[in-house]
Symmetry: none
Subunit: 223 residues, 2 copies
DNA sequence: CTTCAACGACAAGAACGCGCATAGGTCATG
DNA sequence: CATGACCTATGCGCGTTCTTGTCGTTGAAG
């Protein structure tokens, strides 16, 4: 899942970025409203986080323009004041949630998870394909009841696969959501990580879940 | 479906080309405005993608000349700036859609699909002839409910057949849309691939769908 | 009806490129 | 310094794409 963070305070911004990256999100950080809007308009984010107090183009303006362009990506607003009218304005303008500073990082992570969950219809909280179960809240993965340990990147890839199970995922689609902007298209990192995942998830199992669609990409499914 | 991409940044251009080819489009890449115009004027493309910031002949000029020559091919404009007036000018000049860089490849593909769909008036999303069903979104093909696995080339050929079912398709028409411009006219690759398709689609079925029009070409239809 | 040329069907295999596996290198962390 | 995560690089196997050549079919002329 790729997240855009538009936050002018460098310290806060990089703090959020690090926290999110630890949780396997691909994060692009941007300290400028106008540039943030441009990035957001590409539509390749699964979540956008905007500080309302931005120099230049204010956060609220970014949000309204975004919605005007029919970008439906969930938006989480960060605001210094807890003034109610600020929040209301934000929600009216099309924000999906807000958070007042200072905030606990855990709460931020929880709200991020909630917003992303909303996107994938299922509200149960866990994702399941065959006997493979993934719990985004605890980042726990099991197959057949057996715990599977994944690295940050492996987890990010698997979560993306599970949220889009049964669909062909092309390499560009995968890099767009699992890696961040400075992804180098001309390497085979994706193949390598799919291979890592296969070793941990499919190796030795009767039912393979990760399938190669030659010439197109990959697909997670039960045959 | 054949696409012309006029883009001077080699990296961006080849990235787009690769992405489109993964989706079974035949892509011609061109880094020069004047040459791009020449190619576009041949009229054998289903979609044309033009960067506005070209050396020599600017993209906007290419577009206006194209429309002056009554070429109605859908045009998608690529622009570095998100400046509103650029977009407006482009649309006024006869472009069908625009995209600002940097863009998500998913969005580009979505817009390409939308433009091509508009052209063929098909809006349901899936194509169907008799009990043969093709779903462009998932690249899934079934006949009589039974899944059929196709290679990238076979799929491209079948999609072209289905989008022009009931009409005679000559070899030049087929090579123009399914292969790209460096196609060797003096081979029988087309016949060979039609044969492959027959094996997977018509072999053993009561109703044959692929018919040979001797001296002309092929045709997809129910008798 | 027979003959013949043109055209298409099909088989077999060569050439090519994709995806896989593995090894190694870099960087951050403790 | 040791470890693990992330990424790069490379060679190989195999599926895909294309070429080549032969055989079958069609339809018109003799």
């Amino acid at each position: 899942m790729r997240v855009l963070v538009v936050e002018d305070e460098t310290k806060v911004g990089s703090f959020i970025k690090r926290a999110l990256e630890e949780e396997s999100y691909a994060v692009d950080l941007c300290e400028d409203g106008a540039q943030g809007l441009d990035l957001a308009l590409t539509g390749s984010y699964d979540l956008i986080m905007i500080d309302l107090m931005l120099p230049g183009l204010p956060g609220m303006e970014v949000l309204t323009r975004l919605r005007k362009e029919k970008i439906q990506t969930p938006v989480l607003i960060l605001t210094a004041q807890s003034k109610v009218d600020q929040r209301v304005k934000g929600l009216d303008a099309g924000a999906d949630d807000y958070l007042t500073k200072p905030f606990a990082i855990d709460e931020l992570l929880a709200r991020v998870r909630a917003l992303l969950r909303r996107g994938t219809a299922e509200s149960s909280g866990t994702l399941q394909i065959d006997d493979l179960i993934l719990n985004p809240a605890t980042r726990e993965v099991t197959r057949g009841g057996q715990r599977i340990e994944l690295t940050v990147k492996e987890y990010a890839l698997l979560e993306y696969f599970m949220r889009h199970a049964g669909r062909v995922l092309t390499r560009p689609m995968i890099s767009d959501h699992v890696w961040n902007q400075d992804f180098d298209t001309f390497t085979n990192v994706i193949d390598v990580y799919v291979n890592y995942l296969r070793n941990k998830i499919d190796r030795g199992r009767a039912r393979k879940l990760i399938h190669t669609i030659r010439g197109s990409g990959y697909m997670l499914k039960v045959d």
